[in-house]
Each structure stands twice: as structure tokens, then as C-alpha cells.
């Protein structure tokens, strides 16, 4: 399986991206990677790393798209950028199974839309990250920020795509909740009220009704359907709260001599594990669902470990036949909902 990696995207590119790619190669002997970017810099980053050169290809490009670039303009103009070259290859090379970038979210999304294309019937592809739950599992948030404005039909597509992805991750009958400001049927603004009624009768998903923000990480749902605006706020509030809680814990441990001693003697290991569970960037990135081939947007601050996780994540998505499953789900639903908005 061949995965393309944007070697120049992200805060720690190309060093950590290249290192992550090499890590992924050593973890999966069937894997091939293509790194797009500045060849000299990629080769410098590869120096000293142990990897199988037969399974690593470099495609040289002269440009880089940064967070300061306006996404649409950059995708159209920077034709020799590591992102655009990678996406062109993803579209044209039948062997290319998926793509990973830690670069600008806007540019990755716009580029995937313009250069790879949407799945027929999906008007709005969505960003779909996973968060840990209180019960030790994972929950998908879809859409976590691709679409600040949505229509009810988009939320139905999010529910279908989230269900397909949760299944690909091994959840047999994913429970889908609509995130609103209350659990009652009439809650929310007109967008969410109408979406509730469409979701209730949507075939192919297991809709459990409206849920609140506090239910997202409870472990009681597998897919949290959101409009991209409030989904982004939910995702980032969860991220910020986890950081704030850990910071409050640290402060209180530091402030107590006994707790400090207990931590040093007994708890360091447990806390390392806790941090790993809570740091969602550690297990890869957010999948863009609704694109013709799997694309994973890794966190901008990704280090090698996260890049490696993102590469394995996009491999898993490709291997599970995710795009095919989404198409199959779409073909099973009412035309009115399955059609473009």
C-alpha cells in the first residue's frame, strides 16, 4: 500500500514528518511512502535514520503552502507546492491509497476538494477527529470545523460518513448523537430541529437522538454529529479543558508536599499513560470524510510519533475500504437526502 506524505506541512516539517514516515515504514513491511517536498531537506532529514530505501520515494517540489497563505489562492497558484503535487498524485496514481499532511487545515481541505474531488452525493466533506471517552473508547466528532455554515442535509451526510468510519474502526453498530443545547426533541435552532427529524428517519444509521456537550466524551455515543461551527468549538473546548484540568492537577500536586512525594515515588508512570490517552494528537489526526480517497490532517504541531500514527491511520482507512462504504451507504438512502444540496 502506497501512502503519500506532505513532507513540508506542519510546525516541525520536514524533520519530524520524515522521521514519522520512516517509523511507519518500520512498523508495516507492506507499506510504501512517497514524500513530497524539498529533496535536499528531506534527504538531510533522512540522514542517520534506519529505513528501507526501496519503499521510500521522494518527489521534489520547490514550493510550500503555509498557514499565512489564503487556501484557495495558494492551491491554484502554488502548483509546485508539496501539498498540490501530493494531491495531484493521489488523484492520478491508482496505486496511491491515501494522503497525510500536517499543514494548514484550510489548504488541505480546499486542496482535497479541488484536486482530488468529493464523493458524488456529498456536497460538504467534513473533518472527523476522534476523542477519548470516559469509558476508555473513542468518539468521532463530525464536522469539527470544515463547514462553519451547514444545512440539514449536510448533517445527515455527516451522520452517514461518521457511521461508515466508526464501522471501519471496528464499532459494529455506531450510536449517532446530534449535538445540541439540550436532549429534548425540540431543542436547538431551526438547523438542528430540522436535522433531528431527518436523522430520525435516515436509513443506515443508529440515531440515538439529541445529546449535549457533556455526552460527547461520556462513552455513550460513537459519533457526535455537529455543524462545523459548534463542532469546532466542542473539539477545542474539550482540548482546552483537558489541558486546564491537567494544569489544575499539577498545581495542586506541587502545592502539597505529600502529593509531590506520592507523585515522585508512585505515580509518574500512571500519569504518563494518562497524558498519552488524553493527548488526542498522539493517535493520529482528523480524517477528511467525503473525499474520493482517504486524507488525514495531522495536528500542526505533530512530532514523528503522531505523523507515524497518522500514516497508519490513513492506511487503515484505505484498507477498510472506507470510501466504498460511504458510497454504499449513500446509495441506500432516500434520494432527497442523498442528492447534492
Amino acid at each position: 500500500m502506497k501512502i503519500i506524505i506532505d513532507a513540508m506541512g506542519g510546525d516541525n516539517a520536514p524533520q519530524e514528518i520524515v522521521k514519522g514516515a520512516a517509523m511507519a515504514l518500520s512498523q508495516d513491511r507492506e507499506l510504501k511512502v512517497v514524500l513530497t517536498g524539498d529533496e535536499a531537506k528531506i534527504k538531510a532529514a533522512l540522514a542517520g535514520l534506519a529505513y528501507d530505501p526501496a519503499r521510500l520515494e521522494i518527489v521534489h517540489c520547490t514550493e510550500v503552502i503555509t498557514n499565512d497563505d489564503a487556501p484557495t489562492l495558494a492551491i491554484r497558484q502554488k502548483k509546485d507546492s508539496s501539498l498540490v503535487v501530493a494531491l495531484k498524485m493521489l488523484k492520478e496514481d491508482a496505486d496511491a491509497a491515501g494522503f497525510v499532511s500536517a499543514g494548514s487545515t484550510g489548504a488541505v481541505l480546499t486542496g482535497a476538494l479541488l484536486r482530488v474531488g468529493r464523493i458524488r452525493g456529498i456536497s460538504r466533506p467534513a473533518v472527523c477527529p476522534a476523542l477519548p471517552t470516559a469509558k476508555g473508547g473513542k468518539v468521532l466528532i463530525i464536522d469539527a470545523g470544515a463547514n462553519a455554515e451547514c444545512k440539514p442535509v449536510n448533517l445527515c451526510h455527516f451522520a452517514l460518513m461518521g457511521t461508515a468510519y466508526a464501522r471501519a474502526m471496528g464499532v459494529k453498530e455506531p450510536r449517532v448523537g446530534l449535538v445540541t443545547n439540550g436532549t429534548e426533541e425540540h431543542k436547538g435552532d431551526p438547523l438542528h430541529q430540522e436535522s433531528y427529524h431527518l436523522l430520525k428517519s435516515l436509513q443506515g444509521i443508529r440515531f440515538v437522538g439529541n445529546v449535549e456537550g457533556r455526552d460527547i466524551m461520556s462513552g455513550d455515543i460513537d459519533v457526535a454529529v455537529c455543524d462545523g461551527f459548534s463542532g469546532n468549538i466542542a473539539l477545542k473546548t474539550a482540548e482546552g479543558t483537558a489541558l486546564a484540568v491537567m494544569s489544575v492537577i499539577k498545581q495542586n500536586i506541587k502545592a502539597s508536599f505529600a502529593a509531590k512525594l506520592g507523585y515522585a515515588l508512585f505515580m509518574r508512570g500512571a500519569f504518563k499513560k494518562i497524558k498519552k490517552v488524553l493527548d488526542y494528537s498522539k493517535y493520529g489526526g482528523a480524517v477528511l470524510l467525503g473525499i474520493e480517497k482517504p486524507v488525514v490532517k495531522a495536528h500542526g504541531s505533530s512530532k514523528a510519533e503522531s505523523v507515524c500514527a497518522a500514516v497508519l491511520q490513513v492506511r487503515d482507512a484505505a484498507q477498510s475500504g472506507l470510501v466504498g462504504s460511504i458510497k454504499e451507504m449513500l446509495s441506500g438512502v432516500d434520494l432527497e437526502i442523498g442528492a447534492d444540496a
Copy 2:
């Protein structure tokens, strides 16, 4: 100072409400409380409690509004309910300085609007709870759920009222952030884009620009302005995440013998403190801002300690002259924004 308390609202009414009222009386010798509700039940709950009977009045009512009642209908029809009787007294008794209820949020909000009235110039009162921050302070979220649909002028009012309340809580120049799906100026849907521009030129507030969900609890802002829909999702996601994080920590401590021992020997005390900091219901409730007198909605699951905190919170709001400060701030801003929407 006289505070009215709905003795029948909340999951633990009237026992814990009455107990909380007695606690508040013992903590403030200047305080008087009026309990509205079933006199026999209130008296039964008072039995055995130490309190000054000269500062506690019971006003008997025969009805109770529950979470199952439709708010507007209940406020109009259940005229002898503990909530409606309390609100009538709050409006008519010049000595009544504020009101606390742990009952249905919808009923408390609707009742306050219909029976006590809005501050002139505020078209949409808002719910304003405080959350702990990573830096040990507090942050206000406004609106946390009163208005699922908002206009830009409402968000400006939220910014003004939040600023007034943060000042009343001792923050000299409260930093106000607009919660959107990114920090750039153009982020968000049209509501938030337009609100950004209004807030930028709004007199009397210290607007620091757009913030993301992860910034809410960072300690870098004092007032998080939200539309009521996404504000509710942010608040409840924060609540749920804090619970999920604590649960992950518990699981990991239990799973490790060393960590379990360290916890038992050294860390129990620190964790009790941590839980207290994180449990926002412990320090009172959410103030309804934009009502002619201070109203605090305590958490439905409030125990005596939280009820006591909510009573002292509404006392503080009244003593600080919060309603007057909001009126003053409104008189200082452009008519276009200060006027009813």
C-alpha cells in the same frame, strides 16, 4: 439584605435547599432569607438545623413547577408555585435584593423575564456561569444557553453584561473574547463575523478578538462571549471533558498497584481539592444577566453547599450594584447597539 429562595426547585428540594439557606444565614449575620414552598415540608427540613429564626421567613405555596412543565405555560398557570410567588415578591418587595432557584432553567429564565422584567435596552437576557481556568482564576461564559438563536446586537449586550459582572467579581479590566471556530478576523458564520466588527468598536469593553474553544479556560480571557447555542455546547463539553479526564485518571490509578498505593498514602487530599476546583457547581450557579434584579440559577443537582454558595453569590451581585452597572454601561454605548433589537 434579603434574598428569596425557591425551596422547591431542584433534584434535592426541599431538604438541601433549606439546609443551604440555613448555612448561608450562619455565614452572613446581615442576611435574611425568604423560602417559598410547601410550609410543612420546609419546616420538616428545618427541624434539627441551627439557624436564626428571626432572619428566616417561609411563604407557603401549594404548587411546584417541574422540569416536565412547559416553561411559559407553567409560569402563566401555576400562579401559586414556589417559583412564581418568589419572582412576584422579588419584583414587588423593594427590600428583596435577589433570588436563587435550583429548578428548571427554562422556567426560571421565562419566569424572570415575564415576572421581574428585562433591563431596558437588553432584548435578550443571558445565562452566565463561571468556569475555573488553567491559571487558577475564573472565566465567565455568556450566553451559556438562554438564547439558541442570536443577533449581533445580542452578543454585544452579552459582552457588556459579562464585563459588568466580571468587574463586580473584582476583575478590573476584563478581557472579552468572541468564541468562534478560529482566531482570524474573518472566521465564523455571518452572525459571528458581524458581531466581531461590532465588538471591535464597542465602547466600554476590552475586546481581545476572536478566541477558540481551547482559549476559554486558558486563563487568557475573563469573559467568553458566545451565542447561546454554541455557548451551551462549550459549557457542557467543558463539564463532560473534566468528568472524562477525571475518570481516565481514576482508571489509570486503579490499574497500577504503585499508583493506587501512592494515591492512598499521599494524594487523597490533593485530589479532593482538585475535584472541588473543577466542580463548578460547587461555587454557586449561573447568574441571569439582563434581568431587573439579580437571579442565580443553581445547578439542578445542587446540595446544601452549592445552594449556600449560590445565595452568597446573588448577595454579592446585589451588593456590588450589578444591575446599576449594566444600566450605566448601556447608557454609554451607541444607540444603535444599545437599542432593542
